[in-house]
């Protein structure tokens, strides 16, 4: 082969392989563009069809359609993977051939040439170099300085929201006083304009969110949590009905069907009544008008980051929505068995939501929420370990969490003022313990409980009461961390104790109601109801309202002698604890929500 043929051959090879490589690259680009704009495995179409099929399981045509589509999607995915791989190798091959041919072609062309004229003047070059290096150096410096000017340091001005909150507390009589929350870190003297500025910054979503937190007096006027204000089973509401009957509609002000299953109890603030329900993955929070029973709003709890697609396994008697909601008059908070915690304002605008991790709980998470000032407390005693979590009510951020060495608990936190400071009191196996409501520090704990704890604690006159079936009933003095008295004759399984006027009431799952002396543990009387109790007792106007799971309510006088004032019936199962307002009681039965009153 002479040189000319070789030149021609290598040039042609280079051109052909070059064109080949370009074609392969274009194909690869198209394939890339296709898969990046449409990933067959992420298609929503199949998911939509599957959801349709779930509603209509008998539809065989739909089933076949899904299978065909699924097969196509997988084929498309694996084919495109194959295409990219094969294309890559082809391109590599083409490129190698092209390069070899090109190199050969140019090596034939180049010969060692006769040197030309001496190169450019070195001096000129050096001066040019100096100029350009100087310029490059300056460009680097200017770029760095420009970057410095354009990027603001947000950390130096950052102050944690929670510690900067200076909250305005509104008392019942519209007196305004400034209360500092978390005085340990709050800056002193922040008032007036600064507060408003902060308010504006923090509130997101709905416009009407303010940072006022209700005072104790204000909370006591509402039924804002499971078992009433501070979850202690006592209400200060007046004119509570003592006589009703669902069968004859006597004193039933209104009645609406419960839209979705949920063993949570209703809570009230002003004219709004809240509860939640969940069926499968569908979780909803409801708000009703307390006067008319009209649905004011309902909001689905979905699209929560970190929330699982799957429904946790729970038993039906606990359900997916066992924890009761709580509200502070500006926001309402709800938690579900999925670990989803959500906050709405009073008009149903979503403020924040997060998932705390699916609680490992073989019946379903049941501990209710409670809030006080800027914190929402979550008792999260799961199979993975116990925690008391305090969330920022405004943002849902975790302010602190205290780890507890306890088993799973189904009890709910209560709030009590002990030694002048608020404590969150929790019951679980094996600890009955109190935590500083501000810092989460464990103030006291007594290891005396065992089993699967359902009943929450009660607090009265310096003593904490806790009980569980197959375990013990204890009265604890938290300041000395010791058990004052204990008993194990009558123990409740789910229903929580209540203390009023120095008397302690216990409701068992087999229908016996017992009255003890709260200080000594001496038993005064007992009463056999027609059914067992799950609902917790509430004391109102020195009367004790207890409801068995058939929906019979027994009204007793709070006294050392048994005095049954009345017995009323709803005629349907009631597992929840009623909510009390002036002149009204709200029962959430298995089927219906009732307002008892004139």
């Amino acid at each position: 082969m002479d040189r000319q043929t070789q030149l021609k051959l290598s040039a042609n090879t280079a051109i052909v392989s070059g064109i080949f490589s370009i074609l392969v690259s274009i194909l690869l680009l198209i394939s890339y563009w296709q898969t990046s704009s449409f990933n067959p495995l992420e298609t929503e179409a199949i998911q939509a069809l599957v959801e349709r099929l779930a509603e209509d399981p008998g539809n065989d045509a739909l089933r076949d359609e899904i299978r065909t589509l699924d097969l196509l999607a997988r084929k498309a995915y694996f084919t495109s993977t194959w295409q990219v791989k094969t294309g890559g190798y082809l391109l590599l091959f083409g490129a190698i051939v092209c390069i070899v041919a090109l190199r050969y072609y140019y090596s034939l062309l180049t010969k060692i040439e006769k040197p030309g004229e001496p190169v450019v003047n070195e001096n000129v070059n050096r001066i040019l170099s100096q100029k350009w290096i100087l310029a490059a150096g300056m460009v680097i410096m200017v770029l760095a300085l420009a970057a410095a000017v354009l990027s603001r340091n947000h950390f130096s001005t950052y102050t944690p929201v929670s510690s900067a909150i200076v909250a305005e507390a509104v008392t019942g009589t519209d007196q305004v006083e400034v209360v500092e929350i978390r005085t340990d870190s709050a800056q002193e003297g922040m008032q007036g304009d600064e507060q408003e500025g902060l308010e504006g910054e923090v509130s997101q979503g709905a416009a009407a969110i303010t940072m006022r937190f209700p005072t104790r007096e204000e909370v006591l006027q509402h039924h804002n949590a499971f078992r009433g204000p501070f979850s202690n089973g006592i209400t200060s509401r007046r004119n509570i009905p003592v006589d009703w009957d669902a069968a004859t509609n006597r004193n039933i002000k209104w009645k609406v069907p419960v839209p979705k299953e949920g063993n949570n109890s209703p809570v009230l603030w002003g004219n709004k009544l809240f509860f939640a329900g969940a069926e499968g993955r569908s979780q909803t929070v409801y708000c009703y008008d307390h006067n008319t029973g009209r649905l004011l709003w309902q909001q689905d709890v979905n699209n929560i980051p970190g929330s699982t697609a799957a429904v946790p396994r729970v038993t039906d008697d606990t359900g997916l929505s066992a924890p009761t909601l709580t509200t502070d008059g500006q926001r309402v908070y709800s938690i579900f068995a999925t670990g989803d915690v959500i906050c709405f304002d009073m008009d149903g605008n979503r403020i924040w939501a997060r998932n705390l991790g699916v609680p490992e709980n073989h019946y379903g998470h049941a501990s209710s929420l409670i809030c006080w000032q800027d914190k929402l407390y979550v008792q999260y005693d799961t199979g993975e370990g116990g925690r008391l979590i305090a969330l920022n009510v405004l943002t849902g951020e975790t302010l602190w969490q205290t780890f507890r060495e306890v088993e799973i608990s189904w009890a709910s936190p209560i709030l009590a003022q002990i030694g002048g400071a608020y404590q969150v009191i929790l019951v679980a196996d094996p600890l009955v313990a109190g935590y500083d409501a501000n810092t989460g520090k464990e103030m006291w704990s007594v290891p005396c409980m065992s089993g699967e704890v359902g009943p929450s604690a009660a607090y009265s006159d310096g003593l904490v009461y806790a009980v569980n079936e197959y375990a013990v009933l204890v009265a604890i003095d938290p300041t000395r961390e010791e058990v004052v008295w204990e008993d194990n004759e009558f123990l409740s399984d789910i229903s929580s104790p209540v203390v009023s006027n120095g008397l302690l009431f216990i409701l068992t799952s087999y229908g016996i109601m017992v009255c003890y002396d709260a200080k000594t543990g001496e038993e005064y009387w007992e009463y056999q109801a027609r059914q067992g109790f799950m609902s917790s007792p509430i004391v109102a106007e020195n009367k004790l309202y207890v409801t068995d799971w058939d929906g019979n309510t027994y009204i007793f006088e709070v006294s050392r002698e048994m005095n049954l004032i009345g017995e009323c019936s709803l005629g349907e199962p009631v597992y929840t604890t009623p909510a009390f307002a002036d002149g009204a009681i709200y029962f959430k039965g298995w089927e219906n929500l009732y307002c008892i009153g004139q």
Partner: protein
């Protein structure tokens, strides 16, 4: 809870098998089931559970083979360069390197990236560098102190792929080369700063050719790699000359090499045949005696530039350290903290996995901000050092422009020469026996 656990179970639509299991739980004493939702089954059919598949990683011995390979390749290159003076030998070694370190080892045991590991291990006591990586970092540098950049010539897969595709190199004016030559040092400094602060390994992340070796990478990196190769057909070794941070180190060590390769095996006869042989413009020509600059003026410049070096260092330190906020945002934690502060509405962006994972982790924002501030402060300190270094490099490069080394022969520029051996072919001189 026991009693009610059993009461309503019958009434529901739920799934029987689940219930059987759940009932099992309810029956069991509480202490035993804190661990596992569904107990380990007891099989009656004698079925045995398989063990999970866990294929072993590539063995450590093979890593030492890599080190031995590197040593062998560099030794061979040196031998071909200095003893055999054979460009062909080096060419075939490059092909081997491309196949072995490139396509077989997927370009991922490489001296270029090892800079970051070594830097990180120097500053972070918790980080241990592996012996192999340290060897890959040190060996080419040690070789270069003795024999110049033999690593670049034939032992670097990145260099090999660029070297092999050179088709028709164009000549760069020397001022452009010198100016662009600053960039590798800036890149080196940045890479070390990012590595030391645990931000990122930018050298590895923006390695344009590793995607080609692996036959797959992020789309942009593949495009960058192919683009770099297309340019590389006409601009010889663009990555090596204007980007490679490890090359920056080698440029320094090789400059003082004890026995660098030479163009001529003996006395240079000034035939000028090699003038156009170097695709990298790395041959120093003997100075034109007519073009000698005004010595006094030159001396003044020399002193000026010398005095300017500390000014450059201070200016660089100031400029880069004040850009520390900007630079630190490359760190994911700083970025996230910043995002959460400046755009609180992003919390509701359910598609932002980083924010949502952070929020559901339960870690307070304060803690994140504190951590981010620590990193930002590291960037401030690092910024002074990096800026000072960049300033120093600029100052020295400037100073170099007024330093003259009297040359009479055609010699490779010991810093810039990749010891590829092309020029040797052009030299007509035959070594006397």
């Amino acid at each position: 809870m026991h009693l009610t656990g059993c009461i309503y179970t019958g009434t529901h639509k739920a799934l029987k098998a689940v219930f059987l299991l759940l009932l099992l739980f309810v029956m069991m004493p509480p202490a035993s089931f804190a661990q596992q939702r569904f107990p380990r089954p007891e099989f009656e059919t004698g079925y045995e559970q398989p063990t999970p598949v866990t294929p072993e990683p590539r063995s450590l011995a093979l890593e030492y083979v890599d080190v031995a390979m590197l040593l062998a390749v560099m030794a061979l290159v040196t031998w071909f360069l200095l003893k055999k003076r054979s460009r062909t030998g080096i060419f075939w070694i490059s092909v081997f390197t491309l196949v072995y370190f490139g396509f077989y080892r997927n370009g991922c045991i490489c001296s270029v990236g090892s800079v970051q590991n070594v830097a990180l291990s120097l500053f972070n006591t918790g980080y241990s560098v592996s012996l192999t990586v340290l060897a890959f970092f040190l060996l080419p540098l040690i070789f270069s102190l003795f024999y110049g950049r033999v690593f670049c010539a034939g032992a670097c897969a990145l260099g090999a792929i660029q070297d092999l595709i050179i088709v028709k190199p164009i000549t760069f004016p020397s001022w452009l080369q010198k100016t662009l030559g600053i960039f590798p040092f800036v890149y080196l400094g940045l890479a070390i700063l990012f590595a030391v602060t645990g931000t990122d390994f930018i050298i590895c992340r923006y390695d344009p050719f590793v995607g080609i070796f692996r036959m797959g990478a992020e789309f942009t990196m593949i495009v960058l790699g192919i683009g770099m190769l297309l340019i590389g057909m006409f601009v010889a070794r663009p990555y090596c000359r204007f980007v490679c941070p490890y090359g920056a180190l080698l440029r320094v060590t090789s400059f003082f090499a004890r026995r660098h390769m030479t163009i001529t095996p003996a006395e240079c006869i000034q035939c000028r045949l090699c003038e156009s042989s170097c695709p990298f413009d790395a041959i120093d020509f003997p100075g034109d005696s007519n073009a000698r600059p005004d010595t006094e003026k030159n001396l003044r410049r020399f002193i000026l530039y010398l005095v300017l070096i500390p000014v450059w260092v201070a200016l660089g330190g100031f400029a880069v350290s004040s850009a520390h906020v900007f630079l630190s945002r490359a760190h994911p934690d700083v970025f996230l903290a910043n995002l959460l502060i400046t755009k609180p509405e992003m919390r509701n962006d359910l598609d932002n996995i980083d924010i949502q994972t952070f929020l559901s982790s339960g870690k307070p924002l304060e803690t994140l901000v504190e951590e981010a501030e620590v990193i930002q402060n590291q960037f401030y300190t690092g910024g002074w050092i990096l800026g000072g270094f960049i300033g120093f490099v600029i100052g020295i490069t400037l100073l170099n422009q007024v330093v003259f080394r009297r040359k009479t022969d055609y010699e490779p520029h010991k810093g810039n020469c990749y010891s590829c051996g092309r020029c040797m072919k052009y030299c007509p001189v035959i070594k006397k026996q």
